[in-house]
Symmetry: C2
């Protein structure tokens, strides 16, 4: 029996009709290798932004259900156009939306999770030698309501399709050549990784390597779907393979270095050291659906019997967090609240770290030697993150990349604007 390969193409790869024709080439190339091909796609380029703009003109606070009805039309357009492009090149293809397939999700709008994917229609079309083009990002509830999957949704659709069809691989096509040891726009000799474990990719994804959403990596890990990140515009390059760690040889303790500028540090000063204060604080934030990343509570000062609670959140949540904090400040009897937007999170990631002592120390020493002050530290088994001032981020990243010997002899060919660093 032939192998099934799932491919995923995002909005940038489908921005206009010329690009859609190029995507058709990538699909056909995989088919020509003798595989059955199932393709998951996002909406074209700026379609989603345009639809959101129309909605806001009509209703500043549109219902989540109707937003899902609206946004799901975006993939409806791209599946039909890509299918036409494949057919124009003489191959059999068919488009299917989430309702036609039965991509079943929870009964939640705008951020539903996939529960099940029916495979009857998919298998029937694979048997008929059709290339199948599936609407990503969308699902339906058991009751026939249309849902969308939220951030990272199309990648997750692709991985879930691969899991349901027991595909041999899920290829995520994007505008970069693969996963790099760090951002090549900052460190020009960053190396492209041949492969990386799910766990490392998860940590890299969380600390700001914007190649894959952690959610899709988690799904791939759970169902053991080999994931490949590769470029739509360079089909000869196989990109980076993300698989279970046991299949890999690990040559270096550190696999990648990343900087994340999307976080803000909040410090609640002089909170009386009474039981339940931390729970009250983070409970209130969780209730507003604000994710907290790093948390540090200082030791209680013996004289005043108060301590400081510092934590980081996403920039996008600052306004909502402030309103939560203003409300519970009196409850906590806190003296003041400081918000520091001038921070960067620098992280090193590597599955090899766990067996090698001294990696953390090397990181802290390296940063200290630059005269850079470390404001917060957090660690996991395969990741160490430090908060530094934003203006220190770039040089910290560069020196860590060098110290942990991640550079390649080549200069990466990467386009795109330099990040804010």
């Amino acid at each position: 029996m032939k192998e099934i390969v799932v491919q995923k193409f995002g909005g940038t790869s489908l921005a206009d009709t010329d690009k859609i024709k190029k995507v058709a080439d990538a699909v056909i190339k995989e088919k020509e290798l003798g595989n059955d091909v199932v393709v998951a796609v996002s909406a074209m380029g700026h379609t989603t932004d345009y639809l959101v703009k129309l909605a806001k003109e009509i209703n500043p606070n549109p219902s989540a259900r109707e937003m899902d009805m609206l946004l799901s039309t975006g993939e409806g357009v791209s599946i039909a156009l890509l299918t036409m492009a494949i057919q124009a090149k003489g191959y059999n293809a068919v488009s299917l939306n989430a309702m036609q397939i039965g991509i079943i999700t929870e009964d939640v709008h705008q951020k539903a999770r996939i529960i099940d994917i029916k495979t009857d229609k998919l298998k029937k079309n694979i048997k008929a030698e059709n290339i199948i083009v599936v609407a990503g990002f969308q699902g339906i509830t058991e009751d026939g309501e249309i849902t969308t999957l939220g951030r990272g949704g199309s990648d997750t659709s692709a991985v879930a399709l691969a899991a349901a069809l027991k595909a041999s691989r899920c290829d995520i096509y994007t505008d970069v050549e693969g996963v790099y040891t760090t951002d090549p726009r900052i460190v020009p000799n960053a190396s492209k990784l041949e492969n990386i474990s799910y766990e490392e990719m998860l940590e890299l994804a969380r600390v700001g390597a914007n190649v894959l959403h952690p959610r899709s990596v988690e799904t791939a890990k759970q169902f053991n779907v080999p994931l490949r990140v590769r470029s739509t515009f360079n089909l000869d390059n196989l990109g980076t393979l993300i698989i279970g760690a046991k299949n890999m040889e690990i040559y270096k303790p550190v696999t990648g270095v990343a900087a994340d500028l999307s976080q803000v540090r909040i410090v609640i000063c002089d909170v009386p050291d009474v039981p339940g204060n931390a729970a009250r604080l983070f409970g209130a934030l969780a209730k507003e659906n604000i994710s907290v990343d790093m948390i540090i509570q200082s030791y209680a000062r013996t004289v005043s019997n108060t301590n400081d609670i510092a934590f980081t959140i996403d920039k996008a949540d600052v306004v909502r967090a402030r309103s939560v904090l203003d409300k519970i400040k009196t409850d906590l009897s806190a003296k003041s609240i400081q918000v520091d937007e001038n921070i960067a999170k620098i992280s090193i990631v590597g599955a090899g770290m766990v067996d090698r002592p001294g990696i953390a120390a090397t990181m802290f020493e390296t940063i200290a030697d630059l005269g850079v002050n470390i404001k917060m530290i957090s660690t996991s088994e395969i990741k160490i993150s430090c908060i530094v001032d934003k203006e220190d981020a770039s040089r910290s990243l560069k020196i860590l990349h060098e110290v942990f010997d991640l550079g390649s002899d080549e200069i990466a060919d990467v386009k795109g604007d330099l990040p804010e660093l």
Copy 2:
């Protein structure tokens, strides 16, 4: 129990977000009258043209199935936006597409006919006091394939919904105030009709009054759904009610006069008068799906034993018709083929005609008195059509409107470009 009213709004009424808000007002006004409201909508303004353009860029000959997948997204956008607009004004509303409702059609793409509409979901939402916004123009097959209904599709969706829900009325909102005795852009004192029978409306629709597609009128007639044609932009005007003739008082033998410039006359000259020639000719045209309107076969000339066959077809079919005729010309042993594009069809329509002799004679005399030559004539029980030269169309229309006493004392307030006449 409350009455159900179905409303239909076309692309022009939904061209931008401001217009969508106006449509929401029209929907809410009906709801405030104490009725349950179900709304069928088309795609916004030029959406369909834009999608067709994208498709043609990708594939000059796109598959009908994928065109349906593509075009059906258009109504997906407008149902969500209109629902948001209604919700913004504080009313409960829900959008439903054809797949969610179960608008079942034949298994034919781009011109499917509706077989059945499931009413469970509709009735559940009516019971919950929701205004329901339904995607017109689209359907699904029993097998879950997406279809579209072709020309006049959204009007037909609305009428079929009204029939399925036993609605008390189906209001077709458009950019004119109703059905007129003739085109008010040509005859400024044309009267708006208070009511008209299905049969008359059918004839008027077929002879060029572009207010309603005959297909929707036929469906309304079949299920006895009272239809109202009215303006989206003047809600105080109730427009024209189209109902069964038996409910009407008929004051005048002629209800309306129309000119149709979309036809072309073809004459096949000197066809030998042998059995089967006409069948061969019109069979060949039918096989190419070319509709023939008027047909006149002259008496066989006794000397040559040949006759001429003249007929009219739609302008859009001329190229295809020529290629059919070129092929069978030798078969028919015809001498020559003439194509006359310089014609207009002038028709008078009226259910009262059947009881009043002399209407046809009055029409012919009136036209003859102008010195206008009548090239072809066809009649039905409630319609008489004459083919004249295009340049004679306007004055023929005006004089017939006057002779049959159709004018009002008011000048119709009609916008839009003057037609080609």
